[in-house]
Amino acid sequence: MLRRGLILFVLVGFLTVAGTVSAHTPLFSCFDNADGTIYCEGGFSDGSSAAGVPIIVKDASGEVILSLQLSGNSDVEFDKPEGEYSVIFDGGEGHDILIPGSQIFE
């Protein structure tokens, strides 16, 4: 069910990095819920689901804090880590989408 197609255009939370567009482009976005939790959602540019895609949360040193998966609704919620962190949409080798915690806003 997972679609790991070409990643030529990456949406990084609220910071968009422009590139060439193709079908089945993975998309990932996170918000700070302002209640101590972070909400992330994923999907693909053709509207298909990203359910089951691994989501990894790392601290400033690169250590894995959390290993999660997008739900059947292609989203996930977790407690906001202390200090610097990043959230990674694990779309396959060389095709990850990383969102630094500093770019996750309310």
Partner: protein
């Protein structure tokens, strides 16, 4: 005898005057957003090609958004009437009319996907025709490139359902839609098309500047195309900006002792290829 010629002359002048096409606008500067956040919408009843003749709007009957993230997402309807405030909108002719502004908080348009905004205005009484007009108006915004419900009918009494993403059209392309009433196609009906031919000053609540195009003939101001027997129509998109598509007289009924026509309006945005 002279009086007869004068009358005939005036009648000819009147009949050759351009038809005034009313378009309920539901405006925001950009419909393809890279990210969600706070958003401002303007609700103005006007003639978009001329950018004048602002008609007074009464408090709206309905104003909501239907959001869907992805093809498999569940559509979610959010009432937006609480965010409306009355404003005065000024046209290029300096005449002004009552309009509305909607300032939406970030939480309304935050998630990726499609946002189908729907405006159902209070019927407008057109004195010249002695009838009420009610235009069911849609404008669709996308966040983050993830599509959703842009092509789903909402079952409105009068509605244009897009067959192209209405927020992703290149200049020189075409746009196809279906005219529907209560979820059923309306065959062989006339569709009107107008270009928003003026700049919009969001902060000043006004149309500003000079018209972008000078039409060589009134027929180019409000263009017409007939829907086929399936209610489908196609239009060309020769210039970047906002295009209004309206279907007059989809439903005819009675309101407040007068005739009333319910019409469909859809706004689409066209972008130049870089």
């Amino acid at each position: 005898m002279k009086r007869g010629f004068l009358l005939a002359g005036l009648l000819t002048l009147f009949l050759s005057a351009p038809a005034l096409a009313h378009f309920q606008m539901l405006y925001t500067p950009e419909s393809a957003l890279e990210q969600g956040g706070e958003m401002s919408l303007k609700l103005v009843f006007t003639h978009p090609f001329d950018g004048d003749h602002i008609m007074d709007m009464d408090p709206v009957q309905e104003f909501y958004v239907v959001h869907q993230r992805g093809e498999e997402g569940e559509p979610q309807k959010t009432d937006l009437k609480e965010y409306l405030s009355e404003i005065t909108w000024k046209g290029l002719d300096d005449a002004a009319g009552k309009a509305f502004d909607a300032k939406l908080p970030a939480r309304v348009v935050r998630s990726m996907g499609d946002y189908v905004f729907v405006l159902v205005p209070t019927p407008y009484y057109e004195k010249a025709d002695e009838e009420y007009i009610q235009q069911f108006t849609k404008m669709i915004v996308n966040v983050g490139g993830m599509p959703g419900n842009w092509h789903e009918p909402l079952g409105l009494p009068a509605e244009i359902v897009p067959l192209n993403k209405p927020y992703a059209n290149w200049t020189g392309g075409v746009f196809t839609g279906v005219v529907m009433s209560n979820g059923e196609p309306v065959p062989n009906i006339e569709v009107e098309v107008e270009y928003l031919n003026v700049d919009v000053d969001i902060a000043a609540n006004a149309f500003v500047g000079e018209p972008k195009i000078e039409a060589p003939h009134p027929a180019f101001e409000t263009m017409s195309v007939m829907a086929n027997d399936k209610g489908e129509f196609t239009i060309g998109l020769p210039k970047a900006g906002w295009w209004g598509i309206a279907v007059p007289d989809v439903v005819e009924l009675e309101h407040d002792g007068k005739e009333m026509v319910q019409e469909a309006v859809l706004w689409i945005q066209v972008t130049d290829i870089p």
